[in-house]
């Protein structure tokens, strides 16, 4: 109904076409991206733990995560350690304590990890879980968002997110509180 009138008004009122800016190469200080990623991730409330293989990762998680809780994973190699996420009603994930997923890559400048839907198993999982664990290969850390979007520019997904740290809020007098609605903790496990 309103579509045509809105589009017509816009067409009449928009200024003369101005070009998109040319590509700019933004600079990144000459520092180790993995170091910077760790530093920023910890600054925004996340934890980073480096391991050389998945066996070490499992051992580490056993020592720091709630042992009796419900563990769910979307990583096939962790099926011996946590229940594999099944497709279906997201409400069934209501009581998940620990979720273990993989990330595509991390971004050094802001500590964010890029995760697409198929790595989550279920879209709700990284949000509804009490504690989130993301496995990341240490070779997959890019310096800036610019390189990040070069990697995902033409990728196909139904849903994807940059996840940077645990859920948090500072809405009450600017006091930072970790664990607003989503995970109370985020652990990034850096693998070789």
């Amino acid at each position: 109904m309103s579509r045509e009138s809105i589009l017509n008004a816009i067409k009449q009122n928009q200024p003369e076409l101005s070009p998109l800016p040319t590509e700019v190469d933004f600079c990144f200080e000459d520092i180790n991206p993995v170091e910077k990623f760790k530093q920023v991730l910890e600054f925004i409330g996340g934890k980073l733990h480096a391991v050389s293989n998945y066996a070490e990762a499992k051992e580490y998680l056993d020592s720091v995560m709630p042992p009796a809780g419900q563990w769910i994973t979307a990583v096939p190699e962790f099926q011996d350690h946590a229940a594999f996420v099944e497709p279906g009603d997201p409400h069934l994930l209501e009581n998940v304590d620990v979720a273990i997923i993989k990330g595509h890559f991390g971004v050094a400048e802001n500590g964010a990890v890029w995760v697409t839907e198929e790595l989550m198993g279920a879209r709700a999982l990284p949000f509804i879980t009490q504690h989130l664990v993301i496995l990341l290969n240490k070779n997959n850390v890019v310096p800036l968002m610019q390189q990040a979007y070069q990697l995902i520019a033409d990728k196909e997904y139904g849903y994807a997110a940059f996840i940077a740290g645990p859920s948090k809020t500072a809405d009450i007098e600017q006091s930072l509180v970790i664990g607003a609605h989503g995970p109370r903790s985020l652990t990034v496990i850096l693998t070789d």
């Binding site: 309103s2 009138s5 809105i6 003369e16 849903y159 009450i172």
Partner: protein, 460 residues
């Protein structure tokens, strides 16, 4: 909201509590200082701002084509698209989507557009319960107030007041004001809401023409908790949220939170491209005066705004008058140039709620000429006869005095004499310059008299 009162009158209410004004001022300045540290950490900050501004300029100049492209791609992705000319149409569309599914309870994540449209009141009047899920929004919703800031909705409330609200509505212990405990209480309360609501509404931070997807940024994850658990996801967006290509997000996501809160990025930057299997996804594209603003050359740049709130945090007037004094959904400097576009008479006071110091323009991540637009609005408003009678009379008086040296000298002398000998004539409530200020001690002579004495023989 106090209908009919202007910014100055509403600010006076806020100013009655001087301690609160100081606290509000300091809290927002603390956020502004965090923004400075974050922006100084990026060597290319100015280049980033310029690039963002140019991308947005291209968007404004090609809006028609980008919108058609966005719609086509979103439809291909399986998203339903609606167009709303104004707030009433937007609200009616939301209601019709819910009615069709037989849903009478909805969870909402933060969206200033729905505040602009007064969606909550409309839905409640039509038998639909709406619960805001952003913690700050939930707090002001329980307090039956609008947000006072676009990023920090309850920045005007002290933790003790929030404790009282939670005690009344969520059953926390009387006198409990610990942010950690209050947040945990809200977490449990809202988790139950997320689990049981079949419809979720979110705002849109960025919509991408090239792919037909949209991005929502939150720190709490409330948009995702709502959307991923609901059968129906409705996203409301002003059409100016468009950007051309996905890769342009690399510029805007770097700028948004550094400008807003000093964070390097929000915790969640969620890219919604397709509904999940079995889910319905709707986007409502809203005009509500934006196409008119697009046609106003002097003011169209305000449509570049990415809603970071940096201009509010830095504004000396906003910090000392509180967001509610702006009596519009988007407060502060940016709100004061957006609102008169919607209703020039109702918001004629807002472009005057500024010192024109330029700080807002300096921090704006997309380089909107905010203080220039405030200045231009003042002229448009006066020309259209919407300025207040006292202001018009004062301006006429000033014009007369400034155009005649004799009257200028006489009124200067009268002012100096009055300040010295009958200070009560100016140091009283009738003089707006006396509010929150001490009147100055007058100089012995006027500048002209001083010049005559000290620069003999030279012509002043």
């Amino acid at each position: 909201m106090s209908a009919g009162k202007d910014h100055a009158a509403l600010a006076q209410v806020f100013n009655n509590d001087e301690n609160r004004v100081d606290w509000h001022d300091e809290t927002l300045w603390f956020v502004r200082a965090k923004r400075d540290r974050a922006s100084h950490g990026i060597p290319d900050w100015e280049l980033l701002r310029e690039t963002a501004s140019q991308i947005k300029h291209n968007v404004l100049s090609n809006m028609h084509n980008y919108l058609v492209q966005f719609e086509e791609n979103a439809l291909t992705n399986g998203i339903k698209i609606h167009w709303a000319a104004d707030a009433a149409e937007h609200n009616a569309i939301v209601l019709s989507i819910l009615k069709e599914k037989g849903i009478d309870r909805m969870v909402k994540s933060k969206s200033m557009l729905t505040e602009e449209c007064h969606l909550n009141d409309f839905l409640q009047d039509n038998g639909v319960e709406v619960i805001d899920s952003d913690l700050g929004e939930r707090i002001v919703q329980l307090a039956k107030e609008p947000p006072s800031h676009i990023v920090l909705p309850c920045i005007h409330k002290k933790k003790e007041e929030i404790g009282d609200i939670f005690h009344e509505h969520l059953g926390t212990a009387a006198g409990e004001s610990d942010p950690q405990i209050l947040t945990e209480t809200a977490r449990q309360h809202l988790r139950e809401i997320f689990i049981t609501r079949r419809a979720a509404l979110t705002g849109v931070n960025f919509a991408i023409a090239e792919t037909g997807e949209f991005v929502v940024c939150t720190n709490e994850g409330n948009a995702d908790m709502g959307a991923h658990l609901a059968d129906v996801h409705i996203a409301s967006m002003g059409f100016e949220k468009l950007i051309p290509q996905r890769k342009h997000l690399s510029v805007f996501l770097r700028l948004l939170t550094r400008s807003a809160t000093g964070q390097p990025i929000t915790t969640y930057s969620s890219h919604f491209k397709k509904p999940r299997p079995g889910q319905q996804m709707h986007i409502i594209i809203v005009d509500n005066g934006r196409s008119i603003q697009l046609g106003r050359e002097d003011f169209r740049n305000s449509l570049k705004c990415i809603r970071c709130g940096a201009c509010m945090n830095t504004c000396p007037v906003y910090r000392r008058s509180g967001g509610h004094s702006y009596h519009t959904a988007v407060a502060g400097p940016i709100g004061s140039i957006l609102a008169p576009n919607l209703d020039m008479e109702k918001y004629a006071d807002l472009p005057f709620a500024s010192t024109l110091c330029g700080s807002c323009s300096n921090v704006c991540p997309v380089k909107i000429d905010i203080h220039d637009q405030l200045y231009k609005w003042r002229q448009v408003i006066v020309k259209n006869g919407y300025s207040t009678k006292t202001k018009t009379a004062m301006m006429k008086g000033m014009t007369l005095a400034l155009s005649s040296p004799a009257i200028f000298n006489l009124s200067g002398k009268a002012g100096r004499l009055a300040l010295r000998y009958i200070p009560f004539a100016v140091n009283n409530g009738l003089n707006p310059w006396f509010k929150q200020r001490d009147m100055p001690t007058p100089p012995e002579d006027s500048f002209t008299d001083w010049y005559k004495k000290n620069r003999k023989g030279e012509k002043p």
